[in-house]
Structures are given as C-alpha cells and as structure tokens.
Symmetry: C2
Subunit: 454 residues, 2 copies
C-alpha cells in the first residue's frame, strides 16, 4: 500500500508499565486534608479505594507495572490504532500531516476502559465487590459497567441528569452490562437532596455526581469509589495511549510537532500528551501541546489556579488545580464529559509550568469540525473529541496558510454513536453556543475553600 | 501473553481478490427476466448498476481483483480482528474453542461497508453521482451513507418503517454522513403508495423498501441502485471476511470444525462461510456450516426453493432462492437486518446441495445469548449477530455435554450500540417472541410468480 493510513502494533507491544508524569514534575503541590491542612496519605484514601490505587495516586515513581490480567483484557482493543488522516488532509488542502490516535474501538467506545479495567481489577484483588461512580456523557459510566461485568462486580453510576436524558442509549448500555444508573442530582444521597432542595431543575454536573458517588462509597464499608478522570492514578492508567502513539510514530518515521487533546477532567489529554512531555523532559524532541476545552466550561482559560474540592459537596481532599470553583454548574452542552469545574492537578501543574497551552473552543464550531471529520474519515467523533478536532483543523489550516508541513497528532477519544441526538440538533439548526457567564464564575470563586496555595 | 485472544493481520494482508463461490458451484440457476423468462444479461442490469458490478453479478470466475483505492479505504478497518472468546468459554464451562470474526470496528459499526465502499467506487468510476437503496435496521443504509460521504455522492435510503422508529440513531447517523433517509413504505414511490393504500399501518419490510429504491433508480437515469445483500456481487465483496479468517486461523494454528453466521439476505453469512466452503470444495478440510435465521422469518427452514422476486413489487429479475414469497411481511422483530422474505441465491444453492445447514432461532433466546456474550466479552452485539451467538453457545454447550473440544467460529457482524432500545425492552421483560404465521406463508406462497424452476 503506497499511502499507509494505519499504524498497528501487536499484542506484545502493549506497554508493560504505565508512565507517571509526577516523577518528572518534582515539587508539585500535594493533596491536602480539608480538615487539618495536612498532606494526604495512603491511609486517608483507604475508605474509598484499595491500597494499590491509593499508592499509585500518591506515587512519584516514573514507571508502574501493568498487571498481566489487565494487559490480557487490554489485548482485546489495544494497542489502539494510530491513523494518518490522509482524506481529511486532502479535504482541507493542507500540507500538514494529521494523525489521530483512536480510542473508540474499545467495547465501550472510548478510552475510559483503560482505567476502568485497572481499577476494577485492583478492587477485586482487594476483595471489594461494589463500586460507585459518577459519569457525564456516560462514557466513563459505561466503561466501569463493562469492567464490572468482566470482573463480576456491582456497579452504581450517578449520571449527570442532562446527559441522562440527552443520551438514553448510554444508560441502556450500562444496564446491558448489568450496572445501575441513576440520574444526578438524585434523592439517594444527602448531597443530591441538598442540591434539589435549592434547584429542583438542576441539570446536574460532574461535581455534583461525584459528591453523590463519594457519599455512597464513604458511607458503605463494602463500596469503593472509582474515578473516571482528574485523579493521578486515572491519568497514569491512560498513559498507554501516548506510549503506544510514540511507538507508532516510530513505525511511521515521523514525530508530532503539535499534540492536541480535548480536556474535561484531563484523562484523555493526559494519557495522550504526558508520555510525549515525559520524553521531552528527558531530552527528547520538544512538542507543542494544546489542551482544548469548551468555552462554556473554560477551566484553564478563565479559571484560577487554587486549592479546591474535586466535587460540589466538598467531600474530596483539597486539590491544587485550575478551577471555576466547585459550586460552578456548567451549561448543558452536549460534550457532557467536559462539563467539569476543575482540571486534573497534573494537567494544571503542566500548564502552570508552561509545558502546555490551553485554548477554549465553541460548541457549534466543534460540531462543524466533527462533521467535516466524519465525512472525510468516516468515523463520527464523540462531542468531547470534536474539541480536539476543531483545534487540529485550525492548526492544519494555519499550516496551509503558512505553507508549512507540520505533523499534528490529536486524540480521538471515542466515537459518537451514542451522541447522534446532538448531531441531529446541530444539523437541524437548533443547537446554539452556550455562553459562559462571568457572574456565575465570580460567585463560584467566592466560595473557594480558604486554604492558601502552598 | 500466554493466552492470546486476538489474531491481527497487517495492512498488506488485506486480500487482493474477492472470492466467488459461484465458480465452485457450476450449474447454479441463472437469474431470469420476468417478462421473457430469458437468462439475465449484463445489458439487462445496466439501468440500475454500472457494467463492472453487472459483470461481477453474473461472473463465474473464482477470483476478482479488489481495486487498490477500495483496499486503501478498507485499510482503515481491515483486516478485521479474529478474537478467541476465552472469557465466554470460561463462562460456559465448555472445552470448545470459540472464535468470532468481528466486523463492528468499521466506522459504520458492521460488515456492510465492505461492499458499500466497493459499490460506491465502481459507480463513481462510471460517472454516477446518486445512489438509492433500502435498509432494514440501518446498518446497510448507514454504510452506504458513509461510502457516499467518502466518494462525495448523493445517497437516498428507504428505511423499513418499524426500524426507522425503533432505531432513530441510525437515521441520524445517515444524516451526519449527509445522506437522506425516508421511512418505507413512503409516499415517494408508486410501490410505497400502493402498499399504504392497502395497509396504512404497514411496518414495512426489506422487500417493500427494495421496491421503492429500485423504482427510484429505474426511473431516474442519473440514479443507480446499490444493494446491501442477496445479490452475488454483494456476497462477493463480503468474502474478505472469510478469507481473512482463514489466514488468522493459520496464525492461531487452528481451524474451525463449525462455522456459524446469522442470515437475513445472506451477506455476512456468505462473506464468512464461502471462503471456507471454497477451500473444502477444492479439497481442504470439511467444515460444518450453520446458517442461523430468525424463527419469525424462517426463509430456509420453512420457505420453499423457487424462482421469486427479490422485492415486494416485483421489480427485480426472477431469482431462484429459498423464499417465503415476495409479499410476505415479517413481524417487527428487532433484528431488522434479518427481516427479508428471501435468501441469497448462492446461499440457497449451497443449502440445496447440502453444503450448509440452516436453523431457526427465537428472539428472546437470541437476546439472552447476546447479554451473556456482552457480559463475558464486553462487546454488545447487534441483534442480527445474536442469532449466530445463540447457535454458537448451543454448540459450545453441546461440546461441554459431550466432552468434545470442537473449534467454533461465528460471525459477529456488528455492534449493538444503535440497538440498545431492544436490549432495554428485553431487560424490562416487554420483548416477546414473534410467532411465525403459517397462514401468512400459505397466502404469500400462493402469490409466487408462475415460472417453473429451470
């Protein structure tokens, strides 16, 4: 084949270790106990996760071994393909070489099983048989439901209410795997009831759903919490994405000048970009790394870098991150997986050190780019992924205008087969850009916890 | 990895030719002109398809070259993986080795792009820019919509009305690719209007939708018809499935004793099984080949082998096939892709020569098997595919009971991400087995055309 479009690795090429960017960013701010202000320890986390995961959460080691049973399940859909988007390049008339790392081939249709399987495995090893979690668009919830089915565990998912209604097939997918899915805010938790008392029509948010899941996990000794993003160990597990991509670029005899990922909590972005950043920090080629966030929930471009809670009710440790304030409720855009008030501490740290840049993109532009991509490459992207596509297309067009042939890599975190209602709304003209409300930000930032950054 | 679960081939291993079973079944009954009874010629077909496809339709050559631009598009999702279902084997406690050839990784989520891309390519080469077709569950329609997007062609899809309402996301997927999707029977054609006049609540069928598409293609010189199943050239294009599987079994150092495919019109079944039958007819190992059809539309197990029309209105040539009669309207089961009154002539011929066997399976049993599979293997199967799974599980349990370790291969033709409404109905207990009505069969068979089998 003259014009190769797919770079494939074998089962034996699945990474044997996860890569931890924390090892290469010494001096990062630790998580703090909200009551005492003391640094969080492994013991503090044991109420909601097994010791293995607690140790990974706080680890500063660069490489952590992937258990063989996890690699064995990964083997069904990993290594994930790296595609050269030749048809999109032609459609754009750009000299840029555009690549995308596609995670939609997993049984749940996104990158989320990379950590769901690992978390279910470690919990099962520790004798835990029940897991609770939150989900936005449902990619994370259905991935944990999948992992629960594979390890025969009970899974309860609090799904952000607006997404629960926008994406009914995600809820049905969870049920097919045998999991329980509850629209959040719900009446099942004190956190949910408090929100509903204040605003019965609250569309929900990832912060609220996280409070509900944490409350259930914290209050039941046989239930653990499983997080879909933000946390260090989640980004750690996702590092298989970028590690594979680096090996695939060697096959392609190329290397990215620009790496782009969509960012909600940071797990797909971190999974893709961190191994490239790690290589750079250890003397490898410099890459321009761009985090693409929704303009309706502009954590990095409009938020502040501060200690804040990871959830709305304030049940998590304090985490230093770019945040809109834990009480911020983002407008109901279709990219439900990006509707989170904060940003993973490792992504926040990388941004603070100017290792990456952030840009905010609008919903309508993202759907237009998603359709351009779908009609050129065939794959209909998840609304979250269209944020990366939108920036990639912008950079490819800049290459065209400047007459420069840069190599662009973006993360295609999942397919949009569950999100076609959003595409229909876009095509019918009924979708609009959700405006970001500076007053809501001001009010939310006023409620930040009083701890000063250390 | 000790227990390999995936057998992967490289881009260069995509077959270079399609395999045509007709070459190894000499003396098969030709298609006949309904007016004259004469054998159909290439010229007769040119009103609805380009010469290249018409020649493939009537070809008796064993191997037909795959154009390089088609292979280039195949490369995005082919070779498709062959999986060893080790987790399902453990769940069933069977000594059988179960494999499945998974076609759900294509951008449209099924095997249908294998022929959609080829047909769009040949039409585009011939200067045709508009295509019309029918679709049941929507897998074919969305695949042709995908191919239309890639080749910049206008695509109109008549979608069986019951599936149009059961599977709204399929319709939205077609729209995202830029195609037009119309519920059938529609008022846009004489065939549709005639059906609606008799039964305004008609749920539609593949036979009716085919009539509508053929009418549009036949009546417009710039529109061609593209068929999703049944026709010889469609099964030809699908032969990449079985050819790849044979190469993958060599990697696994194994070979199937039993090959199982779900059958509606026969394209997934033929694509998987024919290369194995061809190898057997040329002196290779004997395989037991089982066609799994729905008991609500039992073309092979209850129908008759006769010349009949491929569509309800009688616009096609006469085709010798197992049929329930072209006026038979199957009950509205969720496996919309299997709701077809006839069977591909090559599959019918193979059944008549005892090269394959047929079995009918019930909807509820299929969904139960589909859920067993999903919870063990992670992939939620399309309702059509669950028919093959149901038979595979039955054979695997027979291996357990007999203490025999047979090798079983089945075709997993697509994922069920668009069909979760059906799973929800099953899980909630509201789904039922649709009974086959012998009186409807009798009445339909009475309307068979008068031609006697030659």
């Amino acid at each position: 084949m003259t014009d190769q479009i797919k770079y494939v690795l074998g089962e034996k090429d699945i990474p044997r270790t996860w890569y931890n960017l924390a090892a290469d960013l010494p001096g990062g701010a630790p998580m703090l106990h909200p009551g005492t202000g003391a640094e969080i320890t492994v013991d503090d986390l044991l109420g909601i996760m097994p010791e293995t995961l607690a140790r990974q959460e706080l680890s500063r080691e660069a490489e952590i071994e992937i258990p063989e049973p996890v690699r064995q399940i990964y083997a069904q859909f990993r290594p994930a393909p790296l595609f050269r988007a030749r048809r999109l390049e032609r459609a754009l008339g750009t000299p840029a070489r555009i690549y995308y790392k596609y995670e939609g081939g997993s049984p749940a249709g996104s990158h989320k099983p990379n950590t769901a399987i690992a978390q279910a495995y470690y919990n099962k090893q520790a004798g835990v048989t029940r897991l609770a979690t939150e989900t936005g668009a449902g990619q994370w919830g259905s991935s944990l439901a999948l992992a629960g089915a594979l390890f025969e565990m009970d899974v309860s998912v609090f799904m952000v209410k607006v997404s629960y209604h926008q994406k009914p097939y995600r809820r049905m997918l969870m049920a097919t795997y045998g999991a329980r899915c509850v629209p959040s805010p719900s009446t099942e938790t004190a956190a949910g009831r408090a929100i509903l008392a204040e605003d019965p029509d609250c569309p929900g948010s990832l912060g609220i759903a996280t409070s509900e899941a944490l409350e259930v996990a914290g209050g039941n000794s046989d239930v653990n919490y499983a997080g879909g993003s933000v946390l260090n160990h989640v980004l750690l597990h996702q590092s298989v994405i970028g590690q594979e991509a680096i090996a695939q670029f060697a096959l392609a005899d190329d290397y990215p000048d620009i790496v782009i990922g969509a960012t909600g909590g940071g797990s797909n972005f971190g999974g893709l970009a961190f191994p490239f950043l790690g290589a750079q920090l250890r003397g490898g080629s410099t890459v321009r790394v761009i985090a693409a966030e929704p303009s309706s929930c502009p954590t990095m471009t409009q938020g502040t870098l501060s200690y804040d809670f990871g959830d709305t009710a304030g049940l998590t440790p304090l985490i230093k991150m770019h945040t809109l304030g834990h009480s911020f409720v983002p407008p109901p855009v279709h990219a439900g997986g990006l509707r989170y008030h904060g940003m993973a501490p490792l992504v926040s740290e990388a941004l603070d050190r100017d290792l990456i840049e952030a840009t905010a993109v609008k919903q309508l532009s993202c759907f237009a780019s998603g359709i351009t991509f779908a009609r050129a490459e065939g794959i209909v992207p998840a609304p979250e992924s269209t944020h990366a596509i939108d920036v990639a297309i912008r950079e490819a067009l800049r290459c065209r205008d400047e007459g420069v042939a840069r190599t662009i890599l973006f993360g295609l975190s999942g397919h949009g087969h569950f999100d076609l209602g959003a595409y229909e709304a876009y095509l019918s003209g009924s979708l609009r850009d959700e405006e970001f409300d500076p007053a809501a930000l001001e009010s939310s930032l006023a409620k930040l916890p009083g701890f000063v950054s250390v």
